[in-house]
Amino acid sequence: MAHFQQLEVQLKPADYRSDIEPTWCPGCGDFSVVAACTKAFSELKLPPENIVQVSGIGCSSRAPLFMKSYSVHTLHGRALPVAVGIKLANPNLTVIVQTGDGDLFSIGSGHNPHAARRNIDLTVICMDNQIYGLTKNQVSPTSREGLYGSLTPYGTIDKPLNPIATMLAYGATFVAQTYSGNPKHMTEVIKQAIVHRGFSFVNVLSPCPTFNRVDTFKYYKSRTKDINKELGHDPTDYSKALELAFHDLDHYYDPNAPVPIGIFFKKETETYHDRVNAVKARYKAVDKPTPELIQSFVDACKPKAI
């Protein structure tokens, strides 16, 4: 029995597509994310009405529009806390955050440690194109040093942030990287991320051919290396995961370094709701107060002599 709700009869991936045509540029990496998500939903037999996809603002954040599920297209950087709210209100829903590198790691970065350390059962899919697409080519926190953007005509002088290492440090219990040019790998990783009980983070290297002329499909094609299959990495090993993560961006500086994809870390441990339930049991809390309980509280508040 899965810990999430499942359909008896499987739907086809196409059944999870909405009737809206994606408004992305031809060749955008984000198309594969929608394809992989709908495939994963189908294989996991998720009821569409039980999926809530929450996104911020950006090209990437449009992804939920193109799928048949409940969705909230929130504000720039605020997908994560809205998703946490939804999960708090109804833990039975499968809640997925669809976001971009700017959305998640610039404006919304303050929410990441808190959602991760609480181990709330959500899946965060970050379409990392190392650029702001929607606002037309400004560098993002994940842009490599020297990348040219519309505001950085001489190349950015900032060091890039390491999404994998950051999320590992924040306490995410599932951390993986995948690549838009490898749909099979992506579908598998997204499936595992959804199945994982706890806070799952999937960084998708998802090229923006329109603005980022460096981190392209061509660039990644010869460089990606499956850390699990090719390097034999065991995702239960946290220290090894951190060590690998620290080398995640080596390829920005060393032309021979690989781009690692795969599951860096995965640990089933108590989720936020497990802890809520444990506390509730300990203090014998009620979910819905009975009229008698409310009345007893009302009576207790009344002045005695009246």
Binding site: S71, L80, L88
Partner: protein, 537 residues
């Protein structure tokens, strides 16, 4: 009678005030307590002024009848509150002629003098020692406090004869507690907040009672997360209130406008304090009135409600919950430190009133923003088979899908405008949106709002002036206010704001006035002070 108790922060001054208020309320008096404390945990000066009477009262005087000085600093600081016949009760170590000396013993060095303060005051007032026992018994280190209380009681003479009135008028509570209970009785499922004075006690109050009330109190990483989580919670179908003060509300404004666009029901409690910026955190003001009306970019329907008393706070918080869900809008409940944290004597008649919102009838295809005549579209929550609910911060069509064409933008803007009209019509017709005094034969009227109500209405009653006080700032009951002032010669606007914010709301609504009384030192109007000013008019 007014009693002032002063002493070091951390010495149990607030607690002593609350205990004394509880004893007096248990004897059938109406008590009002003004609590003055700095934004510090130790080292500052605290004081409480309690006024009690057989009549219902909601204010204190600046000049008091008894001053209890538990340390030397209190003597210097409160000489301004002394009048000719004020009785001074000072710590025995203080050298002061004509003062009654009392041993204000502490439970730990410089800590918790509350039981000795209570013992001394009860004796001086001629109240029997048994009356204080129930409150002393609730203190930690019960035996030690009990001993100190009894010794203190014995140490001074009895100078007054305060009788037991037998019939209680109510219990001691605060505006914040009543807001919390009102929201709960309006169906609250979640309270989400980041601590910020003077809203914090709502979070504490509800967090302590999560179990009995079956609600959840959540404390996220900052106010942006607070309102964002609330949007998620409400979208998933649970009733939520969030609470903060001006600074936190400023952080929330971008998401406030999301809740307007996406039509997400939210109740926001904005407890004002003296700004701008960090300002004077533990003091009161009414300077966020215009901010609450205009916060957020773009144009969307909202309701702004301003209770003046705890009873109103309870009732209006409950109503706010139901209005938010009926119309799927943000409702701002605007209070302040004076309402939220002062001690009031209240007899609350609690009743659970939870009106269910309009839900999808499952007959036709679900459209989250389906066009209706009144602008209200039925709700469906995630997990509902057969419906797919897309909500968005972008302008959208009936299905919640992003649109940009002129016609479709206009259609949805017009839908929200229809909703705005519905809200205006229904609330102004069905709810009590303005308080107009029954007294007031003279041809002078006072217009005020929020917590300034207590003092204004007390003084006005004494001087037979008319009082007009909107409970709803948006929609504003302009017609009723105009009718109420039609035959008045002079109109005076009274508020705790430096620039006059109620003035502007009145002007916006075409209401003329003659004079303004503004206080903006972080303190509420005191009764004697306001009376003196009004008498000169």
């Amino acid at each position: 009678m007014n009693i002032l108790i002063g002493g070091k922060a951390g010495a149990g001054i607030k607690e002593a005030g609350k205990m004394l208020a509880q004893v007096l309320a248990s004897m059938g008096y109406s008590v009002f307590g003004y609590v003055d404390y700095p934004s510090l945990i130790r080292g500052g000066h605290n004081f409480v002024i309690l006024r009690f009477s057989e009549k219902d009262i909601y204010s204190v005087d600046r000049k008091v009848d008894i001053i209890v000085a538990t340390d030397r600093r209190s003597v210097n600081l409160h000489t301004v509150s002394s009048k000719e016949n004020t009785l001074w009760i000072v710590d025995e170590k203080i050298d002061m002629s004509n003062a009654l000396k009392a041993p204000f013993k502490e439970v730990a060095p410089a800590f918790f003098k509350s039981s000795s303060i209570l013992g001394v005051i009860l004796k001086v007032l001629g109240i029997s020692p048994e009356k204080g026992i129930p409150v002393v018994e609730r203190l930690p280190q019960r035996d030690r406090n009990f001993f100190i209380y009894t010794e203190a009681y014995k140490s001074v003479p009895s100078l007054f004869k305060i009788e037991d009135k037998k019939i209680k008028k109510g219990i001691i509570t605060t505006g914040n507690e009543c807001i919390a209970l009102g929201a709960v009785d309006g169906g609250l499922d979640f309270y989400v907040a980041y601590p910020m004075t003077p809203a914090t006690s709502v979070l504490h109050y509800l967090a302590e009672r999560q179990k009995e009330l079956g609600i959840k109190a959540v404390h996220p990483e900052n106010e942006i997360a607070v309102i964002s989580m609330a949007v998620g919670i409400a979208y998933a179908g649970k009733r939520v209130m969030i609470g903060t003060s001006g600074g936190g509300f400023a952080l929330m404004t971008e998401t406030l406008s999301l809740s307007g666009m996406a039509e997400i029901p939210l109740v926001i409690y904005e407890a004002q304090r003296a700004g701008p910026s960090t300002g004077v955190p533990t003091y009161t003001s009414q300077s966020d009135l215009l901010f609450s009306l205009f916060a957020g970019h773009g144009e969307f329907p909202r309701v702004v409600i301003a209770p003046g008393y705890p009873q109103e706070a309870y009732y209006l918080a409950r109503l706010a919950m139901n209005i938010a869900w009926k119309y799927q809008i943000p409702v701002i409940l605007i209070g302040d430190k004076h309402l939220g944290e002062s001690y009031f004597t209240v007899n609350l008649n609690r009743e659970r009133v939870v009106e269910n919102p309009i839900m999808w009838d499952k007959k036709e295809e679900y459209k989250r923003y389906c066009f209706t005549e009144n602008g209200i579209s039925p709700l469906a929550f995630p997990g509902t088979p057969g419906a797919v609910v897309k909500v968005t911060s972008y302008e959208h069509n009936e299905k919640g899908l992003t649109v940009e064409s002129a016609e479709s933008v206009l259609l949805m803007q017009d839908k929200r405008l229809r909703k705005l009209r519905t809200i205006k019509e229904q609330l102004l017709k069905n709810e009590k949106t303005v308080m107009i005094s029954e007294y007031g034969k003279s041809d002078i009227a006072l217009i005020t709002w929020g917590s300034t109500a207590g003092v204004v209405e007390e003084v006005a009653k004494e001087m037979d002036l008319k009082v007009i006080r909107p409970l709803f700032i948006e929609p504003f009951p302009a017609q009723e206010v105009k009718r109420a002032i039609a035959d008045v010669r002079r109109i005076v606007v009274v508020e705790c704001s430096a620039s006059g914010q109620l003035d502007k709301v009145l002007s916006m609504n075409g209401i003329k006035f003659h004079k303004t009384l503004r206080k903006y030192d972080g303190r509420p109007f005191f009764r004697d002070e306001l009376k003196r000013i009004l008498e000169k008019l």
